[in-house]
């Protein structure tokens, strides 16, 4: 186990360097000059542009810039907004609490509803409930998040009046339920389908027959034996899914006006603030990599069959 953790940590290093390098190159090697873009169509003094570039370190050789950027990331510095000269980390820390609250809520909905639906469907494979759940999840997967967002907003807030159409106070959990449901819908569907397949496969396993033969009650056999064995792929998926949740948060927070990291990206995209987009996306990628690492470690704890030499 200890050796596995060390190996996994060491493997993270090239992936981390590679992923940040890719993001960095995408940003700076592609056409478009962020400083010049600041001035739009207006004619500008070349000296002024050079001065701003020198101030932001954009005139250094590309690899030097990448090194500075990487050093910055390790120190929690995700760049500077070019227009306002405000550190991107400031924007992140200010917006983070709302996003964490939203994501946690969405994650809970995903786990509870997704695993619940998958369990019910998997135990009754081929039945009416199973087919209904498969159909509902197929709809959730095929309707894009922003369409679901407007549909929910229109139905639950504008027509039924159960909640406010936009989130006025991100501290209030009740207002966050609707956006969290939207954010969770895609992952929920995947988790339900994955759980269903896994449960249905394992329900016919020998150990389930043994459990029944030795007189274990059905609920106990399902919760203790079946669930534990079936949820391993689901846990793996949930870890990877953090990446989807963060991309989904950009859309969802935009629709419901949640003042979080997602809406910061959404705003930066509409004002074409490249440096902010890249800074926040880099932050999200770091979070994503750390979470996948943690999930891999958890995987080893959950499944003692897996021996990592």
């Amino acid at each position: 186990m200890g050796r596995y953790v060390v190996r996994r940590l060491l493997q993270m290093i090239p992936v981390f360097i590679g992923a940040t390098l890719l993001v960095f190159l995408m940003m700076y090697a592609l056409p478009g000059d962020p400083v010049r873009a600041l001035y739009g169509e207006r004619s500008v003094d070349e000296a002024q542009i050079a001065a701003i570039k020198a101030e932001l370190g954009l005139d250094l050789p590309l690899m030097q810039q990448y090194w500075n950027y990487l050093l910055g990331v390790f120190q929690g510095d995700f760049g500077t907004q070019i227009a306002s000269r405000r550190p991107v980390m400031d924007v992140i820390t200010q917006a983070l609490p709302a996003t964490i609250r939203l994501t946690v809520l969405a994650f809970l909905i995903t786990v509870v509803l997704g695993v619940g639906m998958g369990l019910v469907a998997g135990l009754r494979r081929g039945g009416k409930t199973d087919r209904a759940i498969l159909f509902v999840t197929l709809i959730f997967i095929s309707v894009p998040v922003f369409v679901i967002g407007y549909a929910y907003q229109n139905f639950f807030a504008n027509t039924l009046g159960w909640t406010t159409p936009t989130v006025r106070d991100p501290e209030a959990w009740t207002q966050l339920i609707l956006p969290a449901m939207v954010l969770a819908s895609l992952s929920l569907a995947y988790v339900a389908r994955l759980t269903r397949t896994s449960i249905a496969e394992n329900a016919r396993a020998d150990y389930m027959r043994t459990a029944k033969a030795k007189g274990l009650s059905r609920p106990r056999a399902v919760t203790v034996h079946l669930m534990r064995n079936s949820l391993i792929p689901v846990v793996t998926f949930l870890g990877v899914d953090i990446g989807n949740l963060m991309a989904g948060a950009i859309v969802t927070e935009g629709i419901f006006n949640v003042q979080g990291i997602g809406s910061a990206v959404y705003r930066a995209l509409s004002f074409r603030e490249g440096a902010t987009v890249v800074g926040i996306v880099t932050f999200m990628i770091v979070v994503y990599l750390v979470v996948t690492l943690l999930v891999d470690l958890l995987y080893a704890v959950l499944d003692p069959r897996i021996r990592y030499a």
Partner: protein, 315 residues
Amino acid sequence: MPDQNLTGTRSTAPVAEVAQAEAGPPPGKPRSLWSDAWSDLRRKPSFLIAGAMILVLIIIAAFPSLFTSASPREADLQGAFLRSPELTKFFSPEWFGYDSQGRSVYARVIYGTRASIVIGVSVTVIVLFLGSLVGMIAGYFGGWVDAVVSRIVDTFMGIPFLLGAMVILVSFDVRGKLVITLALAVLGWTTIARVMRGSVISVKQADYVQAARSLGAGTWRILLRHVLPNAMAPVIVVAMVALGGYISAEATLSYLGIGLADPAMSWGSDINTGKDQIRVALHVLIFPSIMLSGTILAFLMMGDAVRDALDPKLR
């Protein structure tokens, strides 16, 4: 398994169940896996419905002018500003109503089909080619080649799909279909590569591969004639499901304002325009949304049906 995170279990969910599908016809049966699957599919209603929907969508994408006489760019601000749909006037320009610039929503929905279909299909084709090639090489040769390729795949996998696409696209001033296609393909090929690698590893020890080798077949002949056809099944299924995902991704990017924009036509950017009038004119938002969701649904249903047909475990 030296490294569990390379096996494809970490790729998207419906993919995982497919990855272990054993390719190859069972002994004693004259029919191949593919013809078996085909005879299965022909009798499946969900496959037939999805197939019909996709066929219609492709015809719309190729010849939009067959379906509407109106131009999607013709604006009539005086007469048609946000006029509501007349749902009984089938296929006429006013069928789905007009948007805030007096353009026919029906015509825009019809002409917007091409962007989604073209981008979805081209990304899938590029990703299939690139991913299969890389995955096949890594899986077949193993050793250090596999180690290097797998690390590269891991690196790309470290970047969430949509977030990466945003970073690429935000630096372009004008984003056409080509740029969006390439951006999605650059980030998307790794899923296919992983599935192909796993599939090739399970196939390469098969007797018929050994037999071909002992008969003196060259590496490329073995790969193309024996390994590839038998390792293809799970990859095709993943690619079909992914196609729906690429269409969704294009729409999401266009919706966020970093995909296609005027004068190009895309359901995503139309939904973005429609959202501002959601309370007064829901129809501007609703019809492109229905078309978009229906298209994605058709490709997902197709993928699901093909997966069931190709998975021998369900027989």
